[in-house]
């Protein structure tokens, strides 16, 4: 070296400084985390405007999810291959004006539960008498999720049961019971799916049904001929389940039209949801795939065009597990939240927050998860947007945690060495080392990101009371007790179903809309409401399934902040009709029927 000693000393100091930089970043981040100490209700209300209290026991909900046990050939990695099935979906099945909910179970012979809202803070399981409990019989597979939609427009929400096994359709007999109508509907004999959505893709006023397969539908997971049933690539797998689109023909009959309308994929779908992303009046379909890129099927009036890569959402392959839409910037446009995997030191995929770009001639998205602070959520699963503190900005609730077994031993090393190897190895379950009681991204803290309205989200989960560390799967939001606040339901794999009762600072006001279609499907799924108040606007849409294996309350909840003056709500129905509702007052739930 020709440089002087001083120059070399300076160089050495700069070098040490550079090495210390990541540690400094880590320290700052850790301090920020520490600042989120647990607060009591009063403190949380003052600081963040809301507080969550877990009340499942007081509400009479003692449901514990049971995971499936598949073919013994998979015993070594059973925790991984049987890691899903806990789900929750909200429905007012008896039209009494109070949200009920359905929780799926996933062990053979286990019972699903339909919790009827008793209007007094408690729920009662009525799945047995209603005919929705005993749906996991040997030989028929087990439940993975459920979505509700009034497919025959009789005013009562019907149930599609997503399964690894024989999927089921139940007709709601005016809230007094359910009749199994699977065989006449023409549904497939066997699927291994986790994702399904009700939506009226062709605008004929009848709800259609999308089902996205995960494992190949050719596999009976309880009687495997081969152990070659895993994905053939961790990020480029195309040996998953096929996709189905059932066009509703009326009178309880459906026709499978997926290929005919341009939907063809064998990626490993884990979540799907529909929304009108371009304001065309036609609902588009977003599919979050595990082991690969997301797919975005743009609806061109009853025919779909896959535009994942063209719009930017389908370029970088990750482990998609969630699809939720939210007008997070109050600009009348939906951002899309897709959850993925982040594990310190091993795999940092980061979750995606796809925000539409301004000024583009066609739909383009950019991932702003990092910029907005919602990128890292551990092994993330279900997430939903909702205004948890009624301040007029949509917040984000995320549950996470994959497999919580040993507190001290991790499976990550074995997972990473097989996942990165050749397709012949990764695809064969026999080549995966046994779990032997180890955890894989277990015992993770949840994320409750509140939106500051200025394109930043801050995690306040610990402070506001979302302190569980179960293996969360499905999240659904609903105003469970008609109080004008969004409560949170969380279904946990192999764990209890949690009800986080929300208490919101009373200064922040709200309004809710319960829509009913006439020319449109009666569930009003796909109806899009733009609410205008205090010079602000926010758009929300009635959904036939969102998040991960979940469905929020169909009633739309708008937080309004302080002293709101509501100008109007503009409803664009799936039929194309636009209806303006004026003279809305805060603090009320409005029932709005599509004008004839």
């Amino acid at each position: 070296m020709k440089a002087s000693l001083t120059a070399r000393i300076i160089l050495a100091i700069v070098f040490v400084g550079l090495l210390a930089t990541p540690l400094a970043v880590k320290q700052v981040s850790a301090r920020r985390q520490e600042a989120q100490e647990k607060l009591n209700e009063g403190q949380a209300l003052t600081r963040y405007g809301f507080h969550l209290q877990e009340v499942s026991q007081q509400a009479g909900v003692t449901f514990i999810h049971q995971a499936p046990t598949l073919d013994p050939k998979l015993n070594g990695i059973m925790p991984e291959v049987a890691s899903m099935g806990a789900s929750v979906s909200v429905v007012d099945f008896d039209r009494d004006g109070w949200p009920d909910f359905y929780a799926t179970n996933s062990a053979i012979a286990s019972q699903n539960h339909l919790y009827h809202n008793m209007h007094d803070g408690t729920f009662q399981d009525v799945a047995g008498p209603m005919g929705l409990a005993d749906v996991n019989r040997a030989g028929t597979g087990v439940s993975m999720g459920a979505i509700w939609g009034d497919y025959d427009n009789d005013g009562y929400e019907d149930l599609f049961l997503i399964k690894w096994g024989k999927p089921e359709l139940f007709h709601n007999d005016q809230g007094r019971g359910f009749t199994r109508v699977t065989d006449t509907a023409g549904l497939p004999p066997w699927i291994n799916a986790n994702a399904a959505v009700w939506f009226d893709y062709d605008g004929d006023g009848l709800l259609d049904l999308f089902v996205g397969g995960y494992y190949s539908e050719n596999l009976d997971l309880w009687h495997l001929d081969t152990t070659r049933m895993m994905p053939d690539s961790f990020e480029y797998a195309k040996n998953g389940g096929r996709k189905f689109l059932y066009h509703n023909l009326g009178k309880g009959r459906f026709e499978e039209v997926s290929e005919k309308v341009g939907i063809k994929s064998n990626r490993w779908a884990l979540a799907a949801s529909a929304a009108d992303l371009r304001g065309t009046g036609h609902p588009d379909l977003f599919i979050a795939n595990d082991y690969g890129v997301s797919e975005l099927y743009l609806n061109e009036g009853g025919h779909f065009k896959e535009a994942g890569e063209a719009t930017g959402v389908g370029f970088a392959p990750k482990s998609g597990m969630n699809v939720a839409y939210g007008d997070i910037l109050n600009q009348g446009k939906y951002a899309i939240y897709v959850s993925n995997i982040s594990q310190e030191g091993v795999l940092i995929q980061g979750n995606n927050l796809w925000v539409p770009r301004d000024g583009e001639s066609s739909l383009k998205y950019e991932n702003l998860a990092r910029d907005m602070g919602v990128e890292l959520g551990g092994w993330s699963f279900g997430a939903q947007f909702g205004d948890l503190n009624n301040d007029g900005n949509l917040d984000l609730y995320l549950t996470n945690g994959y497999i919580s077994l040993s507190r001290t031993q991790s499976y990550w090393y074995d997972f990473s060495r097989v996942a990165g190897g050749n397709s012949k190895i990764i695809a064969d379950a026999a080549d995966w080392p046994a779990f032997n009681g180890r955890s894989l991204s277990g015992y993770q803290q949840k994320k409750v990101w509140i939106n500051d309205g200025a394109a930043k989200f801050v995690d306040v989960a610990q402070a506001v009371g979302a302190t569980d560390i179960y293996d969360g799967r499905s999240v659904a939001l609903a105003d469970l007790w008609n109080r004008g606040v969004l409560d949170v339901l969380v279904a946990n794999q192999g764990g209890p179903l949690l009800i986080y009762r929300n208490t919101v600072s009373p200064e922040n006001e709200w309004v809710e809309l319960a829509l009913e279609g006439t020319k449109s499907n009666r569930s009003a799924i796909g109806a899009r409401v733009t609410l205008y108040w205090n010079g602000r606007q926010q758009v929300q849409e009635v959904s036939g399934g969102s998040g991960f294996a979940a469905q929020n309350d169909r009633r739309l909840h708008f937080g309004l902040g302080r002293n709101p003056q509501i100008e109007k709500a503009v409803i664009r129905w799936p039929s194309g009709k636009v209806q303006t509702v004026e003279n809305l007052a805060a603090g009320k739930l409005y029932n709005v029927k599509e004008a004839e």
């Binding site: 070098f15 690539s233 961790f234 990020e235 060495r417 990165g420 190897g421 050749n422 397709s423 995966w432």
Partner: protein, 282 residues
């Protein structure tokens, strides 16, 4: 005359090819690693993004230019800095931008700071990446699953890589390492009871291709004698096996980080002792 032209042209072409593939061509390795990047990106889009990789390459080149000018008093050949930058750009996986710049900077600076007898003893990108794994694990992971798990891109790289490494007279290093890895994988399988294919699995992934063809063969940070090279690369494989038994995800990088400089220091000590003996005998 036309005959002379027709025989002279192929001869010239052959000479140009020979020159191009000669061990003295410092651009062979950069060419190979660029091919690796292209194959990976065009087939599977392995990069976190083009911009992040370009940031790593640009940081690496600029740092090399400045540091070499200031501390060596000359403008450098940028081939090695390019390899460092592109290695960082491929191997580092982070949604953030700063780790790419920081890792490239640390890698290049390590060549100027961590020197013994005026030689740098760590492979620059190995040092930088290990530093990031250890110090920034919350933001940084390594390349692992982003290459599709399919055999064809690997075969292209193995074929191309082996041919070029052969011409550079360093094929024996890569081959020795691969043989030891396979042997130790079987031994690990016997010890742990895990399926042998799961132990072999890592070497069929993309991370190892860069490790095998670029890191362990780096002329500047490998010992000079052929015997020493055999011993060193065997020791790397052995240490890696121990680390793997302790479930270190990035075992090969850590093994090279530990063994590489140790081998260099031993070689320097032996050289010095030999020189002293020669002086004494003289």
């Amino acid at each position: 005359m036309s005959n002379e032209v027709s025989t002279a042209q192929p001869a010239k072409l052959a000479l140009a090819w020979k020159r191009f593939f000669s061990p003295s061509n410092r651009y062979l390795s950069p060419l190979l690693i660029s091919c690796v990047l292209l194959v990976g990106q065009l087939s599977y889009g392995i990069l976190e993004s083009y911009t992040r990789t370009l940031l790593a390459i640009a940081t690496s080149l600029v740092a090399e230019l400045i540091l070499s000018r200031i501390y060596m008093g000359k403008w450098p050949n940028l081939a090695s800095a390019y390899i460092t930058g592109i290695s960082v750009g491929i191997l580092v996986r982070s949604p953030a931008f700063w780790p790419y710049a920081l890792c490239a900077l640390i890698s290049i600076m390590s060549k100027y700071v961590l020197r013994v007898h005026d030689r740098h003893i760590w492979n620059p990108s190995n040092f930088g990446i290990v530093a990031m794994f250890l110090l920034a694990s919350g933001t940084v992971a390594g390349l692992s699953i982003q290459w599709g798990n399919f055999v064809w891109p690997m075969l292209v790289i193995w074929t191309l890589g082996s041919a070029i490494i052969w011409r550079l007279r360093r094929f024996h290093i890569s081959a020795t390492y691969v043989l030891w890895f396979l042997a130790f994988a079987l031994l690990r399988s016997w010890i742990t009871g895990d399926p042998w294919r799961s132990e072999i699995s890592p070497i069929t992934g993309p991370m190892y291709q860069l490790f095998i063809f670029f890191m362990i063969t780096d002329p500047k940070t490998t010992v000079r004698s052929k015997t020493g090279q055999y011993i060193t690369v065997s020791a790397v494989a052995a240490v890696e096996m121990v680390l793997r038994l302790h479930q270190a995800v990035y075992a090969p990088f850590y093994a090279l980080f530990l063994v590489g400089p140790t081998a260099m220091l031993i070689e320097m000590w032996m050289d010095a002792r030999r020189a002293r003996l020669l002086v004494a005998h003289a």
